[in-house]
Amino acid sequence: MTGGGQNTGRAETAAPAIELKGISKAFGPVQANKNISIRVQPGSIHGIIGENGAGKSTLMSILYGFYKADAGEIFIKGRKTEIPNSEAAIAAGIGMVFQHFKLVQNFTVLENVVLGAEDGALLRPSLAKARDELRSLADEYELRIDPDAVIDEIGVGMQQRVEILKALYREAEILILDEPTGVLTPAEADHLFRILRGLKDQGKTIILITHKLREIMEVTDTVSVMRRGEMTATVKTAETSPEQLAELMVGRKVLLRVDKKPATPGGTVLEVENLKVRDHAGVERLKGVSLTVRAGEILGIAGVAGNGQSELLQVLGGIAHGTGSVRLNGTELDLTGRFSDGRSRRAKGIAHVPEDRQHLGLIMDFAAWENVAFGYQGDPAYNPTPWRIDNAAIRADCAGKMERFDVRPPNPLLAAKNFSGGNQQKIVLAREIERNPELLLIGQPTRGVDIGAIEFIHQRIVQLRDTGKAILLVSVELDEIMSLSDRIAVMFDGRIMGERLPGETDERELGLLMAGMDSAPGNGRPALETVGGGH
């Protein structure tokens, strides 16, 4: 293997903070890591990028003592180090911020920081010491936080800060962050990057694992690319481009911008007026939303998760009830009662690709062919006689859909859970799009989907638009909204904050709208005291 260390081969004087030599790890027949070598310079931010399943997390888990490598050596600051468990990793100065935080929800910040790093058998002195320590860390790194706040009651951005503080409290010199921005707003992500740069200036070494090219370009000094368990390249960030990285990740050229012609919108398909939705607790989630989607147009709904986008999709898709007026091609839709369910919506020509595909879009333990029929099991093509469902026909239909949507492996008998995120999404898309709906509702189309599949899914959405269908797209990924939408509506706190055209706006302006600030001149006051969804 020659990839590791290329382009950084010039003689470095300081010993690398971390050096991995020939790390391999297999899970049964699957080779998760193949002969990986990497050098991470001290005091730098080193990105590791790769698609889902490329082996990034496995590699970091080996470094944090969760797995034992089958072969290979780990050097920390030039010294060969064995890391059989997390305790050893902590002792070696490695701190890890997991994608899913490892916090005790009903403990205070202070208790979480102290857990496992207590100074003695009694708690009181440990907590007092940690309180002082947190105060000085807060000043040093811009990591201000109330030590007595309970984790349950603080936002995800804060929770992430607690994870970083945990690592710093244990005197970590090397900080590994696994997909840290997945749960953050753009502003929170920017704050995180400021913190990371501050840590770097203090001499800490940071490894940033992500699949977002933009973050790699923005914050890292060096980037290593992984593909199918191998380290395909390590390059200086300044000497590369997103296009090159994407190609290294996927192994072929990838279109990062969605290739689409200007929209040629027709008549209004969906007309929503003053739509209100309450959740089961009686809290108003939609506070009077009005919007329209025309034929041959993609309306993108931007916003931080939890500001009513989910409820909008649910009520339009027939999963939740609401009040107000929704018209499809001029006919009023029921928002309550027995004709407000998903089946009635489908009958009217509304297809729904739900945000939570693993719970609402698919039954994970059922085979792909069964999933392909869900919602459309009454289709005459599947039911030659009223008392018999033709499984063979469904399987054949599924095989066709899998081929047309490039689902891999194209095996209708495989359970949904055994497909990758991207291929699961393609199964749902195939089911909904091939019904040729008037209106497609689609939520988080590429969440947890790898880059190659993202390209394909985006193309399919645009194709559907070009056949003159209306599409309502909800995504928390601003990039996706910007590149797919023909018009953008921003939601905040159950309301539409404003509508913009993608060519006439930028991320900064949309970011302000997402945080509840009206960016229009003379209107620069926050709509609410609290910024962000607060969920």
């Binding site: 997390s57 997390s86 990793a89 208790e111 857990l115 496992g116 207590e118």
Partner: protein, 321 residues
């Protein structure tokens, strides 16, 4: 109810609450660490038998106590092995332990003593006597407080004092020590404990063994302090009532004491007033005996409001990336 009768009922309450309290605190340690333990009952029963058997054979109440604790620890170890090491279903493991204890105690008792599944009646050094606290004689004449001290506080077996002392000790361990912090954390989010470099397995086994220790004392109290010998099924559902008390107490030590005293009080009332005559109707003895169990059902039906168990409770910990 006059004052001497009230004192008698309360005195009886304390005696009857003791095994519940010990078992409840046992369950508290286990469940706070994320291991649900429906096998409190079985552990108590096994301990009751072995403590009575060894006390009968050796004539030493202390050896009896140790034997009871040892038996309970063995069952705790089995539960730990099944639910922590082998990641089995904690409820099934607990139920199995209850069946095991229920059958095995009678079987061995019959084999050893041939008295129809009982142990011989214990007396003298083979049974815990009551401790008379200092000054209870002279103070007995002080009105109100004197009799309370002499009859209610003084004059119990040492295990009663152990049980009530265990309440503040449990609270202190849980909320003031490193071990307690980790114990609570492992029941809420074992992944947090694991990534902090602490062994989840070791921590949970420790909790399960503390549970075994306390259950052992509870069982021994039944056979060699409260009663003088073992009788089949003598734990009589106390392990389950202790679990109900634990939920009632929302997994907190002081509340656990309150809950156990309440259950003990109902049992005491049931024993004292066998047929309660209310003038128009007479409440039959069976209803009085059923009181604690009725309360258990009411509590478990959620009458007390939402009780949130430790979040990782019942789930075996599987390490994921």
């Amino acid at each position: 109810m006059d004052f001497p009768t009230l004192l008698q009922v309360l005195d009886s309450t304390v005696r009857l609450a003791t095994p519940l309290l010990l078992a409840c605190l046992a369950g508290l340690f286990s469940e706070r660490a994320g291991i649900f333990d429906i096998g409190l009952e079985g552990k108590m029963l096994a301990s009751a038998f072995f403590s009575a058997a060894i006390a009968a054979m050796t004539g030493s109440v202390w050896l009896g106590l140790l034997a009871g604790i040892a038996a309970s620890l063995v069952l705790a170890g089995i539960h730990g092995l099944a639910s922590i090491t082998f990641r089995g279903n904690q409820l099934i493991s607990g139920v199995a332990i209850n069946f095991l204890a229920s059958g095995l105690t009678v079987l061995i008792a019959q084999d050893w003593f041939r008295q129809g599944g009982r142990t011989p009646a214990l007396s003298g050094g083979a049974r815990f006597g009551n401790i008379t606290l200092p000054f209870s004689g002279p103070l007995a004449d002080v009105p109100i407080l004197g009799p309370i001290y002499a009859q209610l506080v003084s004059g119990h077996s040492i295990l009663v004092y152990v049980a009530f002392l265990a309440v503040p000790v449990t609270w202190w361990i849980l909320f003031r020590t490193r071990f307690g912090l980790r114990l609570r954390a492992v029941g809420e989010n074992p992944a947090a404990v694991d990534t902090a470099g602490i062994s989840v397995v070791r921590l949970r086994f420790t909790a399960v063994f503390i549970c075994g220790l306390l259950c052992g004392i509870a069982g021994a109290y039944l056979a060699i302090a409260l009663q003088g010998g073992f009788a089949r099924e003598m734990s009589a559902g106390r392990g389950y009532i202790a679990l109900a008390a634990l939920i009632f107490a929302k997994w907190r030590p002081w509340y656990a004491m309150g809950a156990c005293l309440l259950f003990g009080f109902l049992q005491a009332v049931g024993i004292r007033y066998q047929n309660l005559d209310l003038g128009l109707i007479t409440i039959p003895v069976q209803v009085m005996d059923a009181l604690p169990y009725i309360l258990t059902v009411v509590i478990l039906a959620g009458f007390v409001g939402r009780a949130i168990p430790p979040r990782a409770g019942g789930e075996p910990y599987v390490k994921e990336r």
